[in-house]
Point group: C2
Chain length 278, copies 2
């Protein structure tokens, strides 16, 4: 076992084309790489240490900021397909030939595109709180001034349901996120957030025909995980993914919103490990 | 461990009101009771031995035929609520004070009604390939002469998807069902099948208002399992159950129809055991 944990692993940088990507890598030595792609405005500090350390027991865990995000250099492009190109450049720079992908929300859109663009390099896919291209109600609005003013309150409202149990899980999650005190990441800039929002909206535009046809081409074993009360990405999108992907398992957790995998972290880790080790 | 298995456990009978229920009971001595309720025309031999023996490692497994089904005496009533009354009479006769329920298809409807009628006796619920009262497209037609003529072919068509992998899993399932050679159950009569069909249709009738309101009252931890290509009970019904039940986990398996839990028996057992032991 590596002695690093989510709280202690140093942020490192890899150079690509006069720019650099920030990443953190730890876990089982010689383990199969598991590359994590984060949500709108999420940076390296926004992965739940309980979840990433859980995966690190079995896998070579790699968190990274895509171009322009947090402490990564470069510009954040305005489409998922360009973000996918950048994510691949990062994987190339690390010399990752084959890997599994965990994509959460926007990261799940990139994971789908990556599987389409490089079907042989991606082995297994975990799609968390995300939707297909042209999914239902995926026309996100900008964060309001209120939402930007209090990020913790925003996360409690968007990632957790209004019940006492879910809100308590949310506060525990926020505490876990805050536990890393040194070498924290830089916040995501407004400029990057705007480009990400553009990319999500472009992904969410309903095509004039064959709405979900491309999903048939993603033949990878896929695990779709969603909160049954997700107010950010409607739960029906997870159902649609499972319906149209040829080899997808669907798991939905009760009383949970966009952060379902953090609210139910222990069970999620067991489910994900069963899936990844199949 | 008891030395019985699904293949060797004798069929027993318990008397209730001048009639008798047929059942098979084996598993972990002192284990928590897990009562199985079967599908339209299913009898004691139609539970997959791989699945029931898997549960028997941890639970007191109880398969039974409801009134009028297979080798049970009595008349099969024409509504789910009357079937639920009969199922309770059976549980009372065995002296089961508290138990978990596994309900498959029609059995899942009875399981829901049981949880509504006796909330304190049912602890955890597994709903397999079933739907809520007033669900989507739950207006089943009678089996055709062709379907009745070749039950194996009917099961391969209804319980498994058309892919090679699913059909192969179907043939393995049929082989497992046939492995018990002695003390087999009696087939379900046409009269019972007609009453069951009537009950399913009554359950499936869409109410004029508050379509899924009763689901809110089933607060039990529930695991909903469904095949994403179920052609018997549309998959959206499983999604609806998870959406409206306050404490339900949803798991859907790829490339599978009404027999999803048998096609993916090994994984299903792991998922169900995680759920039941939580």
């Amino acid at each position: 076992m590596s002695t690093s944990t989510a709280l202690t692993v140093p942020t490192r940088f890899v150079e690509v084309d006069n720019s650099r990507f920030a990443y953190r890598r730890w876990g089982k030595p010689g383990g199969f790489p598991l590359v994590f792609m984060n949500y709108f405005t999420g940076n390296l500090d926004d992965w739940d240490p309980m979840v990433t350390d859980g995966f690190a027991a079995d896998f070579d865990v790699i968190l990274f900021n895509n171009a322009g995000v947090g402490s990564s250099g470069g510009e954040t492009p305005g489409t998922v397909s360009e973000m996918t190109r950048d994510a691949l450049a990062f994987c190339d720079a690390l010399g990752l030939k084959e890997f599994n992908v965990v994509g959460f929300s926007l990261g799940g859109m990139i994971a789908q595109q990556l599987a389409l663009d490089q079907p042989n390099r991606v082995k297994r896919i975990l799609l968390l709180g995300t939707g297909p291209r042209g999914g239902e109600g995926m026309t996100f609005t900008e964060l309001s001034a209120d939402e930007r003013a209090d990020p913790d309150q925003f996360l409690l409202g968007a990632f957790f349901s209004p019940t006492g149990a879910s809100q308590a899980a949310g506060r525990a999650y926020l505490k876990r996120l805050a536990a890393r005190t040194r070498d924290r990441d830089r916040p995501v800039s407004t400029r990057t957030a705007e480009a990400q929002l553009h990319a999500i909206r472009e992904w969410g535009a309903v095509p004039p025909s064959d709405r979900y046809a491309t999903l048939q081409k993603i033949k990878h074993p896929t695990l779709v995980v969603h909160g049954i009360k997700d107010i950010v990405v409607q739960p029906i999108n997870a159902f649609t993914l499972a319906e149209h992907l040829p080899n997808a398992q669907l798991i939905m957790y009760p009383d949970s919103s966009h952060g379902a995998q953090y609210q139910h972290a222990e069970l999620f880790l067991k489910h994900a490990t069963l899936f990844l080790s199949a």
